[in-house]
């Protein structure tokens, strides 16, 4: 068998300068892209000082009954746990997973729990995400990331100077993911489809028999 390179010498000489340059550029681009993504909607505070993402939609895209049904389907799709329900409101418990990212590498570093409340009143509806709390992940003995605690720390709680930077990133990430979820929720309620979207799109079948 003939090898193109002498593995110990020629291949390293030929590949590495170019490879390093390429990877360096890739990392720079990834970093810039990550920065761009982080231009986000920050969470606001409500009248009792809790972080909140709050929206009022002035008109119902469908009838109240249908909207209620579609909201339930959305929560099921997102695997949220029902928290409280009455005839005009739904309250669910959900979570965002926070990833610690360093350029192209990442691993989950914690999760942010939240309550999602949805209400219909007359010809409008509103929803908000609040009661945010953070649960850090830790690596278990098998190398998997698992929650380090059962109860979360409220995002409003000051972490002190030592962890302020990291905490601020968690709050920003909660804002970014809340805004994303809210946009998705509104789009879902406005869409014509009554059923939850399948997790994976199925491509149309191609027939080779008739042409």
């Amino acid at each position: 068998m003939h090898f193109k390179f002498n593995y110990n010498h020629e291949m390293y000489q030929a590949l590495w300068p170019g490879a390093f340059l390429f990877l360096f550029l890739l990392l720079i681009i990834s970093g810039a892209f990550a920065q761009e993504i982080k231009e986000i909607k920050e969470l606001q505070k409500d009248e009792i000082g809790k972080y909140i993402h709050y929206e009022v939609v002035p008109e119902l895209p469908v009838s109240a009954d249908s909207l209620f049904f579609k909201a339930k389907a959305f929560f099921k799709l997102k695997k949220m746990d029902p928290f409280a329900v009455d005839s005009t409101a739904l309250e669910q418990r959900g979570k965002f997973v926070i990833n610690k990212t360093a350029y192209v590498l990442s691993h989950p570093s914690g999760e942010i729990l939240y309550n999602f409340r949805f209400e219909i009143k007359g010809e409008r509806y509103r929803f908000w995400l609040t009661d945010f709390s953070f649960i850090p992940y830790q690596r278990d003995r098998y190398g998997n990331f698992v929650p380090a605690a059962v109860k979360g720390i409220p995002l409003e709680k000051s972490p002190g100077k030592l962890n302020a930077g990291e905490w601020s990133a968690f709050v920003s990430e909660a804002g970014r993911q809340s805004a994303g979820l809210a946009a998705e929720f509104k789009a879902y309620l406005s869409s014509a489809a009554q059923q939850a979207k399948p997790l994976h799109k199925t491509s149309p079948l191609i027939s080779t028999k008739s042409w």
């Binding site: 830790q138 690596r139 059962v150 720390i153």
Partner: protein
């Protein structure tokens, strides 16, 4: 030639990136790890308390750098974890060829296994894995205390083998498996150990593991069996209680040990916690040697700043026999030490 190689590599990288985007069930490669350094001072000025790691007296010493990789694609996943440094190569993993005298040929592997989730409840795993026995672990980020318990030091560190995990419900799970001898990359007398773990979650925040590992190791005359209870309860947002109790016996008078360790921890703030560990450990009688016991109390603080944790600690040990030494080398029943460790997790 260089330019051609550069474009080839670029094309390959882009293809890989495109493929990764298309494979929606594939998670990115996770890279995580930790690094630790410590200073320890034994008040007798002699290295005395035989914990698994952090044994250098009056020295700023390194622990290990630990690197873990994880990748999942669909139902399949792999974990590989490497450690470099005394805590890994000398303190917690076997030599590559299994020869105790040959300390230079370490594989550096703490974990290397593959898993396949057959269903949402059943997972099969095979490879070299951290042990399922016990409360404390090798990686310092997994422990509250920096020095380790006698139960940890005397129990298994890793078990290579094949196991099946089944989750009956979110509150009950069972693992059964066949394993090599303790802490061995390869087993010269076959896969001779059976292990099982029953996981119970009585209430939210309380998890209990009932563990069994039994088998006959190469070169031994008896069969060793370890029964282990490991449990922890997050009582409140701030208070956590842990317990580890174990009994290990080897048939044909080869001895064993038993003991229990209680862990109490209180998080005064999200960044500052104090924890107390109390332990009783007893070795069993073997012919011509009576067993002895040791009691140990360890007070530890955790001060967190981002990924960094400072761990100051004091520890007092008291043995039933004079197992320690004084500064003048006279035997004594008591020993005490102070240590300060810095552990970074990434």
């Amino acid at each position: 030639m260089k330019l051609k190689s550069f474009f080839t590599l670029s094309a390959l990288t882009m293809s890989a990136a495109t493929y990764a985007q298309e494979t929606t069930s594939s998670t990115p490669l996770q890279i995580s790890g930790s690094a630790d350094v410590y200073y320890k001072y034994d008040f007798s000025k002699k290295p005395n308390i035989g914990t698994s790691f952090a044994n250098d007296q009056n020295s700023v010493s390194i622990g290990m750098i630990d690197l873990a990789l994880k990748k999942s694609t669909g139902k399949a996943s792999f974990v590989g974890e490497l450690s470099f440094g005394p805590r890994g190569q000398y303190g917690s993993i076997p030599n590559g060829d299994g020869e105790a005298a040959n300390a230079n040929n370490s594989f550096h592997i703490q974990n290397l296994y593959m898993s396949y989730a057959v269903t949402s409840k059943l997972a099969l795993t095979a490879g070299y894995m951290s042990t399922f026995i016990g409360y404390e672990v090798i990686v310092p980020t997994g422990n509250f205390n920096y020095s380790t318990s006698y139960l940890f030091t005397n129990g298994p560190f890793q078990n290579a083998g094949i196991k099946a995990n089944y989750a009956f419900s979110p509150k009950i799970g069972l693992m059964v498996g066949l394993f090599n001898d303790w802490n061995a990359y390869k087993d010269v007398n076959g896969v001779t150990h059976f292990g099982a773990q029953l996981t119970v979650v009585p209430v939210e925040g309380w998890t209990a593991y009932l563990n069994l590992l039994t088998g006959k190791a190469a070169g031994t005359t008896g069969t060793g069996s370890i029964y282990d209870l490991t449990t922890s309860y997050q009582v409140t947002e701030k208070v956590k209680i842990g317990l580890n109790a174990a009994d290990y016996s080897v048939t044909n008078d080869n001895g064993g040990y038993s003991g229990a360790a209680l862990y109490l921890q209180n998080a005064f703030t999200p960044n500052f916690s104090l924890g107390l560990r109390g332990e009783y450990f007893k070795t069993k009688d073997v012919p011509d040697l009576k067993g002895s016991n040791v009691k140990s109390v360890t007070l530890t603080a955790n001060l967190k700043a981002g990924g960094l944790t400072f761990i100051p600690e004091v520890r007092f040990d008291n043995g039933s026999t004079a197992r320690f030494i004084k500064n003048n080398l006279d035997p004594t029943k008591n020993a005490s030490q102070f240590s300060l460790a810095a552990v970074y997790a990434f």
